[in-house]
Every structure is written in structure tokens, then in C-alpha cells.
């Protein structure tokens, strides 16, 4: 799990800074579930938000004090910091439909899919 790597992948960040999605994924250690969640998140973002997202991974085992800020109980939890309002998605993000609903990305625009 490498947060830096995730941050590095921010294609299109300069192009549309106002529309950048800031996502924060909370995990607790590098458990298989955490890795699955991260992989799922990346896949979905690449598909639907290509170039418009920024993922921050927070490992609570390393930074337990951060759990309070976003009221994290479940692991993994994905928090949509931007755009407002804040949304929380819990689970390993394996249910793509739910993730899209949770992130308010649904229905997925087909033309974007074609372009991507």
C-alpha cells in the first residue's frame, strides 16, 4: 500500500483543478481486504474519473489519531472529501454499483466510457 504512488497518479489534475475529486481511503494495515479495496477504488476511478481524482490512503495502524477526524469505524472506509457534501463508503468496494451510488457517480455516462 503506497499512498505516495496513489497521489502520483493524478492525471488531469492541472487541467481541471476545480473538479478534482479528493478521495480518502482509510485502512488498518495491509490486509488483503485493504488491498482489494484500494485496487477496486483505483479501477473505478480510472474508469469514471480519469484524470480528475486524487486518492489519499491513511493507515490507521500508523496514524490512529486520524480515525477521529472523519469518524471512522469501519475498515475500509472511503471518504469523499470533495466534492461536497462528504460521503462515506464502507467495505472493500467490490460492489461497483454501490460505490458509484455512494460516490454519486451514477448513472455512469456512456460517452465517457467510450472515450476512456
Amino acid at each position: 500500500m503506497t499512498p505516495r504512488k496513489a497521489k502520483a497518479r493524478k492525471s488531469g489534475f492541472n487541467a481541471q483543478p476545480l473538479n478534482v475529486w479528493r478521495l480518502r481511503l482509510y485502512v488498518a494495515g495491509q490486509t488483503p481486504r485493504s488491498l482489494t479495496a484500494f485496487a477496486n477504488l483505483k479501477r473505478i476511478c480510472e474508469t469514471h474519473l480519469k484524470g480528475r481524482y486524487r486518492i489519499e490512503v491513511i493507515d490507521l495502524v500508523e496514524q490512529p489519531q486520524l480515525s477521529k477526524g472523519d469518524q471512522i469505524l469501519a475498515i475500509p472506509t472511503l471518504v469523499r472529501k470533495l466534492p461536497q457534501p462528504m460521503r462515506k463508503i464502507i467495505g472493500d468496494l467490490s460492489d461497483t454499483e454501490s460505490v458509484l451510488v455512494g460516490l454519486d457517480l451514477s448513472p455512469p455516462p456512456p460517452p465517457q466510457l467510450d472515450h476512456g
Binding site: 482509510y26 477521529k68 469505524l73 462528504m86 454501490s98
Partner: protein, 588 residues
């Protein structure tokens, strides 16, 4: 269960459960020392029954009194709300938080914001709790209404699995935890938390009976430990929770043989001259207006006079009213109140439930520490509860008072026409002594009579005494007991006067007959004197005549001798013979 206990006993002492004192008044007594240390206790109850407060007090007392820092994880109230709520009870949370003795953590969870997408666990909560515990080295943890999670998280199955893991984790962590849960309809908690917390379960309850609400606490389960199983009333007062510690599991209080005065000399005299035993319970029953309160006030005052403290619970009159009324019979109570030897506590019986009354009394007694307690009148409490409840309450109160060697006097109002024994039977058996004040009606007046109906362990008079209340105070007077029955008041006075008159008449009669006798004796003596003088007269007569005879004889003899000599007859011999027989004999 029996088997378990049997197998527990021989186990090595290392396996024994250690307890974590809560510091909550009474709770430690019920649980025999506190909650199970290093384990979780479930506290459940309906809304507003004091769960959060109990949990908060557990932490605060732990931090302040036992040096055990605590973490309060709240799922409902925010830190600010919590601080405000317990500040009312005198807990200084901000101070404790600054000293790192306490940590508040508000876990906020809103279902609307949460979308579930696949598998997850509650590791975040674990991490968060772990961090909180480690940061202040907490020994105590409170999870206040963990069940909020059920509302916030959609997947019950995951949640249950995680809760099970949480409780195990808490145990491994070695913290003593209180988990609160909302009371459910069928289960102790709405979501069956009791399934997971199996060491100790405490149920709080807030019941309303006849418009009067009372809080109760019950230890439903305490694995590996004895505990009181009853429902104990508890009270949320200015300084937190106090559970009524009237456990009274046994009758093993000490019995003093010291006697204390009742304040009424004649009454003491009726009780073997010494009054009641210290620490005994006295019931004083009477119809309205028989002077129960006055007698009770005397009893309280007697204690104050001895330099002991007396606590007077009045359920009908205000302290000022009692003092004013007592002044009218010459009893001045104010000085004792000023000297802090006498304290009044007045409360309307309907103000709150019986248990609350008991709790208040208990607290008053704890703070005032009296030697004598007066409850006037106990029967007023019947308004606040049923007869059986009142009895159980009074039993507990008496037990408590006895355990503290406090002498107690309970007055009880009986209604005219109601057979005394019937209305008092439930209470009287608990009492060591029973004084009965009664009205006796007759001759157009009412008079008060006092009996000692029972006095355990002491000789007492079986007589009834007239109970007089005047501006000089209370006095007991021998009632008139005669062939006409017991007479009191004017009838007694009349009868006494009648008796006196009869006595006087008798005395006069006796004197008269004594005088008569005297007179008779005098007469007799006079007669004797007369007879004696007659006799003397006769005797004198007789002597005199005898002398005459003798004289005459002598004269005759002399004449004859003279005559004979004149005749010169041979009479010398015979003359000599006659006049001097010895000469005649000699001659012969």
C-alpha cells in the same frame, strides 16, 4: 449453577475474580466490591434511567478516587453535551481531561452518509479505542450505547461478529468496561448485547407506580461472584448516583443493652425505670390528636439533652410548625436545632416514591449521623406506596438504623374505629417496642391513655396511664382502675374525690367508735370506782362493828372479872384462865 459453584470453590485463589470498585455509593456493596475487573459489564435500561450517568460516574470515581484513568466513548452525546450533563452533578470533566485522567471520544455515525460496498470490519473503532486507551493508560472504558452502531451500520451480521470480537478484545486489553445498552422489549437490550457480555449485567429501570416514579437497579448476572439479586432503588442526587445499600442480607446487628430515656420520666418508669434500649425501634400508634408528635418530640429532645443528635423526619408538618406547636406544651426545640443537635427534614409523602424517600432518609442519616431518628408519621408513607411496599421499605430502614445502632421512633396514625392490631400488624412485628396512645371517650370528654403494648427484652408496666398534655408538657398519671373500669379525666377526678370522701367518712366513723369505746371504758371505770368505794365502805363498817364486838366482849369480860373479884369467889383461877390462857395452861 450449584455444580459450578462447587467446582469454583476448590480452585486456586489465583483464579479468583478481582473486583473493580465503582465508587458509586451502594453499588459496590451490592456487587460485593465492584464490577469484575478486566471484564465488561453491560448496563442496560430504558431511556432516561441513568445509564450514561452511572457509566460516567464509574469513570470519574475511578479517575479521582482509585487513580484509574478512563476512556468514555460516546455514541450518542457529543463531548460538549456530556461535559454539560455531568457538570450538573459536580463532576469536573474538563479538569480531569486536562490532567489526562479522562478521555472523551464522541463517535458519530450517520447512516445516510454511509454506503455499504462489500466486506468490512470495525477495525477503525478498535484502532480508535486502542489509541484512546493507550494515550492515557486507561484502566476503565465506557462504551455508551454501543447499540447506536446498529442504527448506523447496515449489516447486522458483520456488526455482531465485530461486537463479539470487540468484547474479547476488551478483555484481552485488560480494561474494566461498562457497555450501555437500550432496553429491548423481549431481551435485556434491544439488540441482544447481553449475548456478548456475559460476565456482569446490570439492569436499570425507571418505573412509575401510581404517578410516582422510582429508579431501580438490579444486578441480573455476575459470573463468579455473589451479589444481591433484589431490585435496589437508586437516586440521582447532587453528587451522583447512590444505590440504596439496604442490602440487609442478614439479621446480625449488634444489640446494645444500654438504655435511653424517652424524655418522659413516668414513661421511663413504665419501662423498668430506664427507658428503651439504644438502637431499638419503637412504634407509637395512636388515633388523631392523641399526642404522637408531642411524645416523639420529647424523645428527640431527650436525645439532644444527652448531647446526641436527633433527626426528625416530618411528613405532615413543616419544622417551624412543629417547633411552634411544641412551644405550646413547653417544649423548646429551637436551641437544639441551633446547636445542631436536632435536625428536621420535612417532605410531603407524595413528593416522590417510597424508594426515593428511603434514599433521601438514608442520605440525611449518612450526613447528619444521628443517634435517634424519628419518623412522624410513618403511615403517611402509605400514600406513596402500597402497604407491602411500605412494609418492605420500613423493614429496610429499620435494618439500616439497627445496623448503625440508631434508636428509632415511628409514629403511626390509626383511624378511630379501626382495630389497631389489624392496621398495624404488618409493621408492629418489626418493632421492638410498641406504645399505644388511645382516646377514651366518656362523660362528654375525651382523654388520652397510654399503654405499653410490647417492649421486647425489658420489664414493663402493664398498666395504662393517663397521658396528660398541658402547657408544662407531658405527664403520665395513674389512671383510675376500679370496679367501674378505667376512668380518666374528669371522671377519674370525680371518682378520686368520691373515694376521698368515702375514705374520710370511714375515718370519721372509726374515730367516732373509738371515742364511744373510750366513753364506755370511762363509764365502766367510774362504775368500778363506785363499787370499790361501796366495798370499802362496807369493809369499814364491818371492821368497825367487829371492833365494837371485841370491845364489848372485853368490857363484858372486865366487868365479869371485876364482879368476881368483888364476890371473892374462887374465880382467880378461872379468871386467870380466861384472861390468860397460857397462865391457866401453865397452872395445869
Amino acid at each position: 449453577m450449584l455444580h459450578r459453584e462447587a467446582s469454583l470453590k476448590p480452585s486456586p485463589p489465583a483464579a479468583r475474580l478481582t473486583k473493580c470498585p465503582t465508587g458509586i455509593q451502594g453499588l459496590d456493596e451490592i456487587t460485593g466490591g465492584g464490577l469484575p475487573r478486566g471484564r465488561s459489564t453491560l448496563v442496560c435500561g430504558g431511556p432516561g434511567c441513568g445509564k450514561t450517568l452511572l457509566a460516567a460516574e464509574f469513570l470519574v470515581r475511578g479517575a479521582v478516587r482509585f487513580g484509574e484513568p478512563g476512556v468514555f466513548m460516546s455514541f450518542e452525546e457529543t463531548e460538549t453535551e456530556l461535559k454539560g450533563n455531568v457538570a450538573l452533578l459536580g463532576f469536573d470533566l474538563p479538569g480531569l481531561i486536562r490532567q489526562r485522567k479522562l478521555l472523551l471520544d464522541h463517535v458519530y455515525i450517520e447512516r445516510r452518509e454511509i454506503q455499504e460496498t462489500g466486506e468490512y470490519d470495525l477495525e477503525g473503532l478498535f484502532v480508535r479505542l486502542n489509541h484512546a486507551i493507550d494515550s492515557i493508560h486507561a484502566k476503565r472504558v465506557v462504551l455508551d450505547t454501543l447499540e447506536a452502531l446498529f442504527a448506523g451500520l447496515p449489516n447486522d451480521a458483520i456488526l455482531r461478529a465485530e461486537l463479539r470480537r470487540l468484547f474479547r478484545w476488551l478483555k484481552d486489553k485488560g480494561v474494566t468496561a461498562i457497555i450501555t445498552g437500550e432496553r429491548g422489549r423481549e431481551h435485556l437490550t434491544r439488540h441482544g448485547l447481553e449475548e456478548y457480555v456475559s460476565d456482569c449485567v446490570v439492569v436499570l429501570d425507571h418505573r412509575i407506580h401510581e404517578q410516582i416514579a422510582t429508579r431501580h437497579l438490579r444486578v441480573v448476572k455476575y459470573r463468579g461472584s455473589q451479589h444481591g439479586t433484589n431490585e435496589y432503588p437508586f437516586l440521582i442526587g447532587e453528587d451522583g448516583i447512590s444505590v440504596l445499600p439496604i442490602t440487609s442480607l442478614g439479621l446480625d446487628h449488634a444489640a446494645s443493652s444500654e438504655r435511653i430515656s424517652t424524655g418522659i420520666t413516668r414513661l421511663d418508669a413504665m419501662l423498668g425505670g430506664k427507658g428503651f434500649f439504644r438502637g431499638s425501634s419503637i412504634l407509637l400508634t395512636g388515633t388523631p390528636g392523641t399526642g404522637k408528635t408531642s411524645a416523639a418530640a420529647y424523645f428527640a429532645q431527650a436525645a439532644a439533652r444527652r448531647g446526641e443528635r436527633a433527626l426528625f423526619f416530618a411528613f405532615e408538618e413543616s419544622p417551624r410548625q412543629i417547633m411552634r406547636n411544641m412551644r405550646s406544651i413547653g417544649l423548646r426545640l429551637e436551641p437544639w436545632v441551633k446547636r445542631d443537635l436536632l435536625h428536621f427534614h420535612s417532605a410531603r409523602p407524595t413528593l416522590y416514591g417510597l424508594e426515593m424517600h428511603l434514599a433521601t432518609m438514608y442520605k440525611e442519616i449518612e450526613t447528619f449521623n444521628p443517634a435517634v431518628v424519628v419518623l412522624d408519621p410513618m403511615t403517611s408513607l402509605l400514600v406513596a406506596g402500597s402497604e407491602s411496599e411500605t412494609k418492605s421499605m420500613v423493614t429496610r430502614l429499620i435494618d439500616y438504623l439497627k445496623s448503625k445502632e440508631i434508636s428509632s421512633l415511628f409514629t403511626s396514625l390509626t383511624h378511630a374505629g379501626n382495630p389497631l392490631q389489624q392496621s398495624e400488624i404488618t409493621i408492629s412485628s418489626l418493632m421492638d417496642s410498641w406504645l399505644l396512645l388511645q382516646d377514651i371517650e366518656g362523660n362528654g370528654e375525651r382523654n388520652r391513655v397510654l399503654y405499653v403494648l410490647k417492649a421486647r427484652g425489658m420489664a414493663h408496666s402493664n398498666q395504662s396511664r393517663e397521658f396528660l398534655i398541658s402547657h408544662r408538657g407531658i405527664d403520665l398519671v395513674d389512671a383510675y382502675i376500679g370496679p367501674g373500669g378505667v376512668l380518666t379525666g374528669a371522671a377519674r377526678a370525680a371518682q378520686t374525690a368520691k373515694d376521698k370522701a368515702r375514705l374520710l367518712a370511714g375515718r370519721q366513723e372509726a374515730a367516732r367508735s373509738a371515742r364511744e369505746l373510750e366513753r364506755k371504758r370511762d363509764a365502766l371505770e367510774r362504775r368500778i370506782a363506785v363499787m370499790r368505794s361501796e366495798y370499802e365502805a362496807e369493809k369499814e363498817e364491818f371492821r368497825r362493828s367487829h371492833e365494837q364486838v371485841a370491845t364489848r366482849t372485853r368490857v363484858v369480860t372486865a366487868d365479869r372479872t371485876q364482879l368476881a373479884s368483888l364476890r371473892h369467889a374462887d374465880v382467880e383461877k378461872s379468871a386467870g384462865k380466861r384472861s390468860n390462857p397460857t397462865a391457866g395452861k401453865r397452872k395445869r
